[in-house]
């Protein structure tokens, strides 16, 4: 695999055509032929510099948000979302404060996913548990007519 990439240095200027010849299976050969990107070449997105930690795992919000309106291959979220609870230092998420919880509930009563609200995982878990408790005591609906 490494050989076939190295055999076409004149033809290929960068990473796009390398992508067509070595489809998406290995990243190591691309790194030897493309010093400009500094290591990893994500093919569908074109050239992209690694900014800090790789947004490998949970991609929503953090990584792509930082790139902003870059290459329009995939759907990117424009601004970087922060967790409301971490910023305002709200410690206790109670099932009783309906006003706070209803911010994380959609019109039909469904719990909004954290990629839309920007909440961090531990807080999303607590919000979810609180919403479910509130639903049980009829403070929030299970399903509302949207």
């Amino acid at each position: 695999m490494a050989d076939e990439v190295k055999q076409q240095p004149a033809a290929t200027s960068g990473n796009e055509t390398a992508g067509t010849s070595a489809p998406a299976t290995t990243s190591a050969p691309a790194s030897t032929s493309s010093p400009a990107t500094g290591g990893y070449t994500p093919r569908p997105y074109g050239q992209r510099r690694e900014g800090g930690p790789r947004p490998g795992g949970p991609r929503p919000g953090g990584g792509p948000g930082r790139e902003g309106g870059g290459p329009g291959g995939r759907k990117f979220f424009r601004r970087k979302k922060v967790c409301k609870f971490c910023v305002e230092k709200i410690d206790a998420i109670n099932y009783k404060d309906v006003r706070l919880l209803s911010q994380f509930v959609a019109e039909k009563g469904k719990i909004v996913p954290r990629r839309l609200t920007g909440v961090c995982t531990p807080h999303q878990r607590r919000v979810s548990a609180a919403i479910k408790q509130a639903r049980n005591i009829a403070l929030l609906p299970f399903a509302a007519r949207g």
Binding site: K89, A92, Q133, I137, A138, L139, A144
Partner: protein
């Protein structure tokens, strides 16, 4: 072991206020008799329910905070289940969350007191006193 519980229950709306008071005080006596320590009783008033419960659209919400072991709570719940005016109830254990909240509040207070320059909102582990940082670094 004494745990703190919050019991919230809904009383049917077509009961008079005095009846609700009587019911609540009966439940309080039962709870104390079962060995629970009653910390607080709050009447949250009549509220609109998010969905129909036993045909009712409104309800009288009552919140009781108790400190007890599991057996007493079991007894309180049994009485709530059996009592006819109570249409819904939920018991939530709050001592663990309260412990965590208190710990975070204490950490924040200690950070503020120490110095104003070190006001970085990092995880509690990092906020441990200075002598420990050389050991970790």
């Amino acid at each position: 072991m004494q745990r703190t519980y919050e019991v919230m229950f809904i009383v049917r709306p077509d009961m008079a206020d005095e009846d609700v008071d009587k019911l609540v005080s009966t439940l309080e006596t039962n709870a104390t008799a079962a060995g629970a320590k009653l910390k607080n009783t709050e009447r949250m008033g009549k509220r609109r329910l998010a969905y129909l419960v036993r045909g009712f659209g409104d309800g009288n919400y009552v919140l009781m905070t108790l400190e007890s072991d599991g057996k007493a709570i079991h007894e309180v719940e049994r009485r709530l289940r059996v009592s006819e005016p109570v249409i819904k109830f939920i018991t939530v254990r709050v001592d663990e969350t309260q412990k965590r909240v208190d710990k975070l509040a204490k950490l924040r207070a200690s950070k503020v007191k120490r110095s104003a320059t070190e006001a970085a909102p990092v995880a509690p582990a990092a906020a441990e006193p200075a002598p420990e940082t050389p050991a970790t670094a």
